[in-house]
Assembly symmetry: C2
Homo-oligomer: 158 residues x 2
Amino acid sequence: MPPDLRLNRFLPYRLNILSKKVSLALATRYQERFGLSIPEWRVFATLGQEQPLSSNDIVERTAMDKAKVSRAVNRLVGAGLLDRQPHPHDQRLLRLSFSRKGRELYAQVAPEALAWEAQLLSVLTDAERDQLWALMEKLEQRVAEEIPASTPLSDGLD
Amino acid sequence: MPPDLRLNRFLPYRLNILSKKVSLALATRYQERFGLSIPEWRVFATLGQEQPLSSNDIVERTAMDKAKVSRAVNRLVGAGLLDRQPHPHDQRLLRLSFSRKGRELYAQVAPEALAWEAQLLSVLTDAERDQLWALMEKLEQRVAEEIPASTPLSDGLD
DNA sequence: GTTTTATCGTTTCAAATGAAACGTTGTAAT
DNA sequence: ATTACAACGTTTCATTTGAAACGATAAAAC
């Protein structure tokens, strides 16, 4: 009597595949066009939301581990896209922000990312989009209860 | 004029985080309780669906690359959970199937995985679950159009 | 004020990853 | 038949990974 575990109706499995496909499709874009790796893009996009941010702020917002953030930040600084300054009141913290060049790149990248997403979401009606957000919200909240807070989430493509 | 890219309403980003959380929560379970790594679990669960399967069948069904499948299969065979036999008509193919021990483990693991999923999905009504599947289906189909078929999808937790 | 204790970011190092090369076997072309 | 070509699974190797150790700074305890 085989237990009825059908993988293509098993949420973790399907969610993983969908997430990977979406990530890969998008990543291909900004890798080829802007030379940004996945971790770099994530750090970059996060800074697009709010500035300045410390490395640790980015760790919290992106669910990446701090070693990865550190490396991505270094590459971005090296590429002249970010400014890294010491925090005035706490020498342990970094104040990360876009450089002029970074700001310019962001102005290019962000609209493209949005356009790409819009294209993807175009298969859904407005109502369906709202549903999707609501459903994901519920699931995320539920699953968060099982994870000891502040567990670093390992990688995957984005 | 900053482009309006809000990360927490950006589908690739949220999908990735949700997927990682779900994967991590589940992975923690079967790692601790059954000693299965993520790739191992995936191969194992895939064989739970259908047997026998070649390594390549598993590659197709799981979207893992073949090196990873090869390694996971080796560990599972080494652990005595799988039988690996040469295909009678095509010496290139492997016929992978559960060993007695593997079958017994599966009988333990599968119900737990299902129970865990049920617990996760308990925050949704039946109607919402149907919606979720439908929405994911649409998105996956849409995004698949952008990916050159047979591109191997990189990893993430499951 | 001195001594823990905690936090931030980097670095180290062993393990995992995946693209490409490989050996082997099967298939198609001639 | 022989020769090209393709498919399967393993192995190699350079890169990426993340857990843990680390140095430096700040906060808390005493």
